[in-house]
């Protein structure tokens, strides 16, 4: 639910009035609702008005765990199509400044469309390659929801047939984005690194790469409020820095949502 435009009470009353059962999907976050059995939410008047946006519960956690402050300065490094961006704008109460970065022109159109529909007035869009985002502007809060192999979305046989392992170029890109994101942090600034895949090569290995190539990296604990597993410290013959255990793995069979990996990183002050 988009609180920039709608009140929780109005949205719930409208959906309930149309026979759509609505319930809280997370005990701590009132804007996250589950509409049981609803098909095609994008065709509802509430969607057109910008009162609601359909997104996986685990995707919504990214904004909540990064916790961008009202009035703050935030960078979303890989923003399109804008579900997490617009959620963060909601959490920022449409104040401060959010820089939504997306280099792909078609994806920028989708991003821009969602920003408009949801009434987001605190956001500008840039088109840098995320791994080359200019160093002249630093940020206190950064979301690096990087391109990935998308294993977390595989919940049926049909999708499985299309899945392929992440190529080395993707692994390289993810690491570069993560490192650039860290370099863009102000002292004391925080970044959430996330993927919707289980592959340790794309998750813990990327985090390990950051930990072994940069100083002043803190990995902070996360509490998603849903069942999770800690990051793995070894995989396929590779061993990772012990600090990766503070990252979280969310599995569909435990949270009934898209699988995700998240790591919360802080640049030490001083």
């Amino acid at each position: 639910m988009n609180r920039i435009k709608a009140s929780p009470e109005r949205v719930m009353a409208e959906l309930a009035g149309r026979g759509i059962r609505v319930e809280r999907s997370h005990p701590d976050f009132p804007e996250l609702l589950a509409a049981v059995g609803l098909e095609a939410p994008g065709r509802l008047p509430a969607h057109f008005r910008g009162d609601i946006h359909a997104q996986a519960l685990t995707s919504c956690l990214c904004g909540r765990l990064l916790s961008p402050p009202v009035g703050g300065l935030v960078l979303d490094m890989c923003a399109a199509p804008g579900g997490k961006t617009t959620h963060m704008a909601d959490l920022m109460e449409n104040q401060g400044m959010l820089v939504a970065n997306e280099p792909s022109q078609p994806r920028q159109s989708a991003l821009s469309g969602n920003l408009s529909r949801l009434g987001v007035l605190n956001t500008v869009i840039t088109a840098y390659q995320a791994q080359q985002f200019p160093m002249r502007q630093r940020f206190d809060h950064i979301l690096a929801d990087v391109p990935c192999s998308g294993e977390g979305g595989i919940r049926g046989e049909g999708l499985y047939r299309e899945w392929a392992e992440a190529p080395p170029s993707l692994l390289d890109l993810q690491r570069k984005i993560l490192v650039r994101g860290f370099d863009l942090l102000t002292p004391g600034g925080v970044m959430l690194y996330s993927t919707c895949t289980y592959a340790p090569e794309e998750n813990e290995a990327a985090l390990h790469h950051l930990l072994t190539t940069r100083d002043r990296v803190d990995v902070l604990p996360l509490e998603p409020g849903l069942p999770y597993e800690p990051g793995v410290t070894s995989w396929n013959g590779s061993r990772y820095d012990q600090r990766v255990q503070k990252s979280v793995r969310l599995y569909p069979h435990r949270v009934d949502s898209v699988g995700f990996f998240m790591a919360f990183i802080r640049r030490k002050s001083g």
């Binding site: 057109f48 008005r49 920028q108 869009i125 840039t126 502007q137």
Partner: protein, 150 residues
């Protein structure tokens, strides 16, 4: 010019926009909330898109965008109309409705169930929709079950 138009046509006070910036583009204007971060550093980035569309140029005229009206239309004190569900369905299907609004010909903020949806165009006592085409053609929108409360 933009704020004067909003005040004159809709009664939307210009002071409402003290915290916002308008950016002129070839096809119209966009609106962004002012922030100290813009001046302190974000202005040094190469920005592709700013905020959301606020006004479009329509020939010699300006038209507030649907999304702008959905945010600020609630402040309109004139040239506004609360539609019944039947009236909204009629407009969405491409037909006109009769209107007794006292306002001069021009744009009107359309409300439904208390929420501003966008604009209609009032011409000689008849109102036609200026809502986006994708809203007009969506079949689910037209189903009474979705536009009316059970």
């Amino acid at each position: 010019m933009l704020l004067a138009y909003l005040e004159k046509r809709f009664g939307i006070a210009g002071t409402l926009f003290r915290q916002y910036l308008f950016f002129k583009r070839s096809k119209g204007w966009r609106i962004l909330r002012a922030s100290e971060h813009l001046e302190k550093g974000v202005c040094r980035l190469k920005v592709s898109v700013v905020g959301i569309p606020a006004f479009h140029r329509v020939g010699a005229f300006i038209k507030p965008s649907t999304r702008f009206i959905q945010i600020f239309g609630v402040y309109a004190s004139r040239a506004r109309l609360e539609l019944t569900t039947e009236e909204l369905q009629r407009l969405l299907s491409g037909r006109e409705i009769e209107s007794n609004l006292p306002d001069e010909d021009g744009y009107v903020v359309l409300f439904h169930q208390g929420s501003p949806l966008g604009l209609g165009l009032l011409l000689k006592g008849r109102l036609r929709s200026q809502l986006p085409k994708d809203m007009r053609t969506s079949p689910r929108i037209h189903q009474k079950g979705l536009l009316s409360n059970k």
